[in-house]
């Protein structure tokens, strides 16, 4: 773990961050959901975001690929600042993959079509090449035999692994996960987490909202704790979990542990 931390610190010092949030603020109407959120994530860093419900985790992660717009501050992804400029947005959406809590597979397309649609139309990849690539990723998430089925015929865990493969088919530099295992039955959580651990080992930059503390300990270089729209604490998972500095984190951890 300390080696990982060391490397992330090294990278942070001399390499341009993969994701930079600088005093980001966001309001829904009069509700202030992100308050001066600043966060710098280095390439290949794995960051886990946790916090109580409604604390703004989803909002923050969705701002990174501009599914939500922020009103103040700067967000720079892979060297490109997120503004109203649609060309910048296209560039960033290609480089950032996202996995949702509710999978959001396209139910009218087969698994293979789900995976090849974006490479063919956005990356302009020839169909045969896109299919080879998709099969490659489906093998990596261990469901190549389901390629010609429709999402509705798969279990939740299988669907979420397809969703991961679908995002990877765009060869993104960054992957965002918003509670990828929260909608799954316990026996399926492991298969999805294993897939994500495998992905982390390839050196992918990952931001993951999750309450799976085991996953955070095993994979994360850094854990960020959010509450009421603010980043309250962040640090290496071991020290953060074993030695929380703030009362809010202590309370949150005690609730999480009781819940499990």
């Amino acid at each position: 773990m300390s080696a990982a931390l060391q490397s992330s610190v090294d990278r942070g010092s001399n390499v341009e961050p993969a994701i930079l949030l600088d005093k980001v603020n966001k309001w829904y109407g009069s509700m202030h959901v992100l308050r001066d959120v600043s966060l710098s994530i280095a390439p290949s860093e794995r960051v886990v975001v946790c916090g109580p419900s409604g604390s703004g985790k989803s909002t923050m992660i969705r701002c990174i690929n501009r599914l939500e717009t922020h009103q103040e501050g700067r967000i720079v992804v892979d060297g490109t600042e997120l503004t109203d400029d649609t060309r910048a947005l296209d560039t960033i959406r290609r480089e950032v993959g996202m996995v949702f809590q509710s999978f959001n597979l396209f139910p009218h397309l087969t698994i293979l079509q789900n995976c090849t649609l974006a490479p063919i139309w956005v990356r302009k990849m020839p169909k045969a090449e896109a299919e080879d690539l998709a099969m490659d990723y489906l093998r990596r998430v261990k469901i190549p035999e389901q390629a010609s089925k429709y999402p509705g015929q798969l279990s939740g865990g299988q669907q979420q692994r397809v969703a991961i493969a679908r995002a990877l088919c765009m060869k993104p530099k960054i992957m965002l996960f918003d509670e990828p295992t929260s909608a799954l039955d316990p026996e399926m959580i492991k298969e999805v987490l294993d897939t994500m651990i495998g992905l982390a080992e390839t050196g992918m930059t990952m931001v993951c909202v999750t309450h799976e503390m085991g996953f955070a300990r095993q994979v994360a270089d850094r854990v960020v704790f959010m509450d009421r729209g603010e980043i309250v604490e962040s640090g290496e998972p071991k020290s953060l979990f074993e030695n929380p500095q703030t009362d809010r984190l202590k309370l949150f951890l005690s609730q999480i542990l009781r819940g499990h």
Partner: protein
């Protein structure tokens, strides 16, 4: 059953997988559905009696006692005396035999009526081809363009040795099919654009325009839209520009149907989970890619029943063009009945017209049910 007894004591036997004979077969169906109680038996018998009576009367009137031909006098005028005598007990189908060409093709020159007849066949062929999913390719658009062009050439003529026939002489079934087909072909894409526009978040002007269009058109009766198209529209045109009456009625229909269909389509868009669009965005698909590949295929599938419902409604509403002096199928039926010898045989005429309308509407509704079933078969939920 014998196996069950032979292997008594064994818990699972193949024969046991079948329900007992008393639960299957036509007799069981009858017993559970029609004669399950004293009350249901009484209702079954009463309704059965009524149904048999009605069928009997209809067959007696429409077939057994019906008059199929009447004599003509020296001037070619039908002598409907026999029909008058049989009135009430037997239908006078001689009316249809006498008038079917007038009703189907209107005042189109008699010896040129093979042209509208061919047009009707082409329309039906076009519907059949478009209905088959294996023809749902880009080439289908070409087929439509070519067929509609051929239809135009046949109706107007003026080339290939065919005499020119102005739209004022068109009438009957081709008019109904032209209004319905062009109406559907143009109002549906229009409706999709309006529905998308109405949901647009970053183009407020477009959104306003779409809302205005839908609310305005929905707020007035179709008849007044037709009147506006036929009476007021020419007043706004510069002198010398003359858009023909049929085209004006056609445009009125497209605009009217478009507003209703737009709301149906919007219902489908609304019903789609937000996550679908977000997933498409996150993958970097452009707005039109997202709409074309993800949103519309799912949204339209959800609204097939109300869509077809609206289409059927508009197919029948084409008959309202009679009020602006266009002679569609129903109008031609009325015209045929104004011939003095036939004046009192409107029942026969309307029954015959109803059969034509029902044939088209039933085909649409049957097709929509099949389509829904086929599209849903692939994706088990």
């Amino acid at each position: 059953m014998s196996e069950t007894t032979a292997t008594a004591g064994v818990i699972s036997t193949p024969a046991r997988d079948q329900p007992p004979a008393s639960l299957v077969g036509p007799w069981a169906w009858l017993r559970t559905n029609l004669f399950s109680s004293w009350w249901s038996t009484a209702v079954t018998l009463a309704l059965g009696y009524i149904i048999v009576r009605v069928i009997f009367d209809v067959v007696m009137w429409g077939v057994v006692n019906a008059i199929w031909t009447v004599p003509y006098n020296a001037n070619g005028v039908a002598d409907t005396g026999v029909c008058q005598l049989a009135k009430g007990s037997g239908a006078c189908w001689a009316l249809i035999a006498d008038k079917y060409r007038l009703v189907l093709f209107g005042r189109y020159p008699y010896y040129e009526q093979w042209r509208p007849a061919l047009v009707v066949v082409l329309f039906v062929g076009l519907y059949v081809v478009s209905a088959m999913r294996r023809f749902w390719r880009k080439e289908l658009l070409l087929v439509w363009l070519v067929t509609l062009t051929v239809i135009g050439i046949l109706m107007w003529g003026g080339i290939f040795g065919m005499t020119y026939v102005p739209e004022d002489s068109w009438g009957g079934l081709p008019i109904t099919l032209i209004l319905a087909t062009f109406g559907a072909a143009f109002s549906f894409p229009l409706a999709i654009l309006v529905a998308l526009g109405r949901r647009s978040r970053n183009l407020p002007a477009v959104k306003m325009l779409c809302v205005l269009y839908v609310e305005l058109i929905r707020g007035v009766p179709l008849i007044s839209v037709l009147f506006m198209a036929s009476v007021m529209f020419p007043l706004f045109m510069p002198a010398g520009v003359n858009v023909n009456k049929l085209l004006r009625a056609q445009i009125a229909f497209i605009l009217f149907a478009g507003a209703y269909l737009a709301e149906v389509v919007r219902g489908g868009l609304q019903a789609l989970p937000k996550g679908q669009g977000e997933a498409a965005d996150a993958l970097g698909l452009s707005y039109w890619q997202k709409t074309g590949f993800i949103i519309l295929p799912q949204a339209l599938r959800l609204v097939i029943p109300p869509l077809v419902n609206t289409f059927i409604g508009f197919f029948k509403d084409t008959s309202l063009v009679l009020i602006i002096g266009i002679f569609d199928l129903l109008t031609m039926g009325k015209v045929a009945l104004s011939d003095p010898p036939w004046q009192s045989f409107s029942t026969e005429m309307y029954v015959a017209l109803a059969v034509i309308y029902i044939a088209f509407c039933f085909a649409m509704s049957k097709y929509s049910r099949n389509l829904e079933r086929d599209l849903n078969r692939a994706r088990v939920r």
